[in-house]
């Protein structure tokens, strides 16, 4: 039903008519009883989560990466967190290098980092980053994004030998066009 307007306002020293009081009550009762829609809700009340799985090994080179590209077509999403974990390794025990995932946005000419990344070096241990302090921190309607998954050397120069990498994004949305 969207927004409703109160039919009557009462004045001091003026009797309130029963039908006017009833009309004032009927409107919100009718709204609450099954007619609420997105216009009645505050923005960003819905959780959105995306999950990705990267099969096989992460390239054992800091300069290389595995990439997952997706296009976001729904309403804008404010990102709460970007997370990563891996569940297997190649060649025995995990090396000490990190698996790093970074979210990038396609601006029409180039991939632009969204200034958030999460890194994990331990099998099965998830790490998530909620530090999207640098804008943009939205998944914007009809915009293309890329998750870049790469190995990062530790202090000894070891690359990650992680395989089977899971990545997720969680955010909140209004489920309506035009926000923010």
């Amino acid at each position: 039903m969207a927004t409703v307007i109160k039919p009557y306002t009462f004045s001091a020293n003026t009797p309130a008519y029963a039908e006017h009081i009833n009309a004032n009550f009927d409107m919100p009762y009718g709204e609450i009883n099954g007619a609420l829609d997105l216009a009645n809700l505050r923005d960003e009340q819905f959780i959105v989560s995306l999950n990705f799985h990267c099969e096989g090994a992460v390239p054992a080179s800091t300069a290389d990466a595995r990439e997952i590209i997706f296009k976001w077509t729904q309403a804008n999403v404010t990102i709460n967190e970007l997370g990563v974990a891996f569940t297997a390794t190649s060649g025995g025990a995990a090396a000490e290098g990190y698996v790093r995932v970074e979210l990038l946005e396609w601006n029409g000419a180039a991939w632009v980092s969204m200034s958030a990344a999460a890194s994990t070096a331990v099998l099965f241990v998830e790490v998530h980053d909620t530090a999207f302090a640098t804008t943009p921190d939205y998944l914007v309607t009809n915009t293309t994004y890329k998750l870049s998954i790469q190995s990062v050397q530790d202090g000894d120069g070891d690359e990650s030998n992680a395989t089977e990498v899971d990545v997720w994004i969680e955010g909140r949305a209004s489920l309506a066009e035009g926000n923010p």
Binding site: T3, S11, R42, I47, N80, F124, H128, D166, W168, E170
Partner: protein, 182 residues
């Protein structure tokens, strides 16, 4: 706006003050006109499904897929987990083999996969035929907020043959709570 409270309560036998009547209405109308939020809506009213894909398995080696229920959405009531596969390697599907899926809550990641996780599905969920989804709706816990979970894929062998299904999809459907602003 969160939970709203009626500003004034009227007493029998006493005239209601017009401004107080107006206040009571205004509070209600303001809330309904775009200020309702998660606190005004019952929990677990929102269905979500997470779907995962695995191209193939090898022998009886288990595979794992981690996801997280973040801190913003509250607990989720798990409705079902399911699994299906849509192709196989070789000419025929190896009879008697299955691909099972289990859902665990991660308790101590450093002890995994031998320990450190608690199984949530109380019934087995295994697919053994092409394009035949198998689901379970029986769980011993919820999808707790701010917690990591892991799907475990368990291929089984039969008569010396390994599971040779491919293009394996599995999923979880749960009733979540919309975002609750802190």
């Amino acid at each position: 706006m969160s939970i709203i409270h009626k500003p004034h309560h009227f007493v029998a036998g006493q005239a209601a003050v017009a401004s107080q009547v107006n206040d009571n209405f205004t509070t209600l109308y303001t809330a309904v006109n775009g200020q309702l939020d998660a606190s005004n809506i019952k929990t677990n009213q929102w269905l979500d499904t997470k779907t995962f894909y695995c191209s193939s398995t090898s022998g009886t080696t288990k595979k794992y897929f981690i996801f997280r229920n973040g801190s913003h959405g509250g607990n989720g009531i798990i409705k079902e987990i399911g699994i299906a596969f849509s192709s196989n390697s070789g000419d025929d599907l190896n009879a008697g083999t299955t691909i099972n899926v289990n859902l665990y809550r991660i308790i101590d990641a450093t002890a995994m996969p031998a320990g450190g996780m608690s199984k949530l599905n109380t019934a087995s969920v295994g697919a053994s035929a092409l394009n035949t989804p198998i689901v379970s709706t029986s769980f011993n816990s919820v999808l707790t907020a701010n917690t990591a979970f892991v799907f475990e894929l368990v291929p089984t062998s039969s008569g010396g043959s390994d599971f040779n299904g491919q293009d394996i999809s599995f999923w979880i459907t749960y009733a979540g709570t919309i975002f609750a602003p802190s």
